[in-house]
């Protein structure tokens, strides 16, 4: 008897749990819907970046050839077998772009994560702690800030010889955090004097909790915006270093593709596809990230007066003005 009751009880529990799960999933979907609804930059940017990410993730399935193998005669114009043509060395451009996306995006995203982690750590610490800590961290930030970034990268990359993508990732991550840190520091300083921080201190919250729970959520839009900005920048720099031949030219990335297109003077010989395809891939990815950046601003800053209800406001305002005979 007891067992029976137990089993009924557990069944109830599992029903409840599955109900909870359904609710949770519904919640997630409604959040996603709320984000995209009436937010065209988010829709366009989201679609584009999804396409790029899918292409990168499913490269082995989608690619028609091995990107590192000579599969055809050089510089074949786009045709049925080679959708986007072939390179000077007879490699399939379409497959290379897909595999290149993996490398380029990995470098850009990891560099962005490294840079933003450093920026948040340095910015929030110096902004919240103040005093000597702030002085030293701010000095460090300034030192990194005055370094001309790209020349430094070029010198380092040249000094280290042709370097792999891992080194480039670290170089980009370590050199592109200071402006983010400056912005986050000043924002933290503005927030830390607000009354809710003071009341958190009075309630006896630890410094770590104040930083993580009270301050960081207020910085989400800046951190995320900075992250996307850094990703775009890192992607560009990776390609830039690649074009200059300072990256590893044997790896397939959008940068190295452009390098080979450049060295084989693809544009002079009329093989525009070798140059245009990776360049367009870079532009589309950068553009979609920028669009997402814009849309995040709209959502994360509730004070920004945008959104579907503003259309209604405009309509009502027009009607009211008409009634008053102003229009």
């Amino acid at each position: 008897m007891n067992k029976l009751i137990d089993s009924i009880g557990s069944e109830d529990m599992s029903v409840q749990e599955s109900n909870k799960l359904v609710k949770k999933i519904k919640g997630v979907f409604s959040t996603i819907h709320a984000f995209f609804h009436g937010n065209p930059p988010a829709i366009i940017g989201g679609l584009l970046i999804t396409m790029v990410l899918l292409g990168a993730l499913m490269a082995p399935i989608l690619a028609s050839h091995n990107p590192n193998k000579r599969v055809a005669r050089p510089h074949i114009a786009p045709n049925a077998e080679h959708i986007l043509g072939t390179t000077r060395s007879g490699r399939d451009v379409y497959s290379q772009v897909l595999y290149g996306a993996r490398k380029s995006l990995t470098v850009a995203l990891s560099a962005g994560i490294i840079a933003m982690t450093l920026a948040v750590a340095v910015g929030v610490t110096s902004g919240y702690m103040g005093g000597k800590v702030d002085e030293w961290l701010n000095f460090l930030t300034n030192v990194f800030l005055v370094f001309p970034q790209l020349p430094l990268l070029i010198v380092l990359a040249a000094f280290l010889g042709q370097v792999g993508s891992l080194v480039i990732t670290i170089l980009l991550g370590v050199t592109s955090w200071p402006w983010g840190a400056r912005v986050i520091r000043s924002q933290t300083m503005a927030i830390r004097n607000k009354e809710f921080i003071i009341s958190a201190e009075v309630m006896g919250e630890s410094k770590l909790r104040i930083i993580l729970v009270e301050i960081l959520p207020n910085l989400v839009s800046i951190v995320f915006g900075g992250f996307l900005g850094t990703v775009i920048y890192a992607m560009g720099s990776e390609a830039g270093l690649g074009i200059l031949g300072l990256g590893d030219a044997t790896e397939v990335s959008w940068g190295s593709m452009l390098y080979w297109a450049q060295t084989s003077s693809a544009l002079y010989t009329g093989a525009w596809w070798e140059m245009i395809v990776p360049a367009a891939a870079l532009a589309v990815t950068g553009g979609s990230l920028a669009l997402i950046n814009m849309s995040i601003d709209q959502v994360s800053n509730p004070k920004l007066k945008t959104g579907p209800h503003m259309k209604l406001w405009k309509k009502l305002k027009k009607e009211a003005d008409q009634r008053r005979g102003l229009l």
């Binding site: 007066k305 503003m310 209604l312 009607e319 009211a320 009634r323």
Partner: protein, 318 residues
Amino acid sequence: MKDVLLEINNLCVDYVSPNGVARAVNNVSLSIAPGETLGIAGESGCGKSTLAFAISRLHKAPALISEGEILYKDCDVLKMSDKELRDYRWNDVSIVFQSAMNSLNPVITIGEQLLDVIIAHKKISYKEAHQKAVELLSIVGIHGDRMASFPHQLSGGMRQRVVIAIALALEPKLIIMDEPTTALDVVVEREILNELYDLKTKFGFSILFISHDLSLMGEIADRIGVMYAGNLIEIGDAETVFGKPSHPYTQGLVASFPTIHGPKERLYGIPGNPVDLLRIPEGCNFQDRCTQCMAECKKHEPELIKLNDRHQAACHRL
């Protein structure tokens, strides 16, 4: 009424929010005579400040003055061009905000902020303007030497007085005071109000005084209007509204604070919370909290009924 300075007819102000349109001021009509003090009372969120903002047309999106007119000397404020509006603001109507002490710029001296107003609106030399500013400060009881002080060097009460001095700078016909003394202690409040009344007898301006402090209002206002959920539910002479309120809500407000004289009595507040402006019930807005609610109240919205020449209330009971 023949003698009218400002007349508001059927004013409606909406807030367009993602969850729907909230009507913060609903069909409010009132008028202010020259030299009169009209008090507007009501609890938080009933539309008092929204009304004050509407009068000087300060509303920005997502707020919208959807209907009605605001006639200042028979000229509709809502139809004014930008230039007319600039002239109207501060020359004719000035406003003291709720957190008045924060309306001073922290990095500019109070003297400069006073001069700003005078020079922007009047064609006088800097020297004359300076003289005028010193005069204004001494009117509100601050020594002219204080012209070079920054706002943080003054106490809250002094800052408030500076703001009032700025509001008086152009001798406007109407001053809107949006809870000007809420942040001050009673001693300073009394001092400032006394000064204000001396100035009022001297210059003869009208005051639209917005506050939730009904007892203060009973003392200083000539007439009192009571607002609830965007509606003006009772308006009349101060003694009538304060002494013999007709609307159940006003009765509740008056019964919510103790009298100094007389025996100690149990205080009765008004139960419940203000209505959600996005979910306004059919009929009277006050029905859920009203002690005298009847069937009629759930069907039709009551309109202002004239009880006598100077007293109106909106309730089906009357």
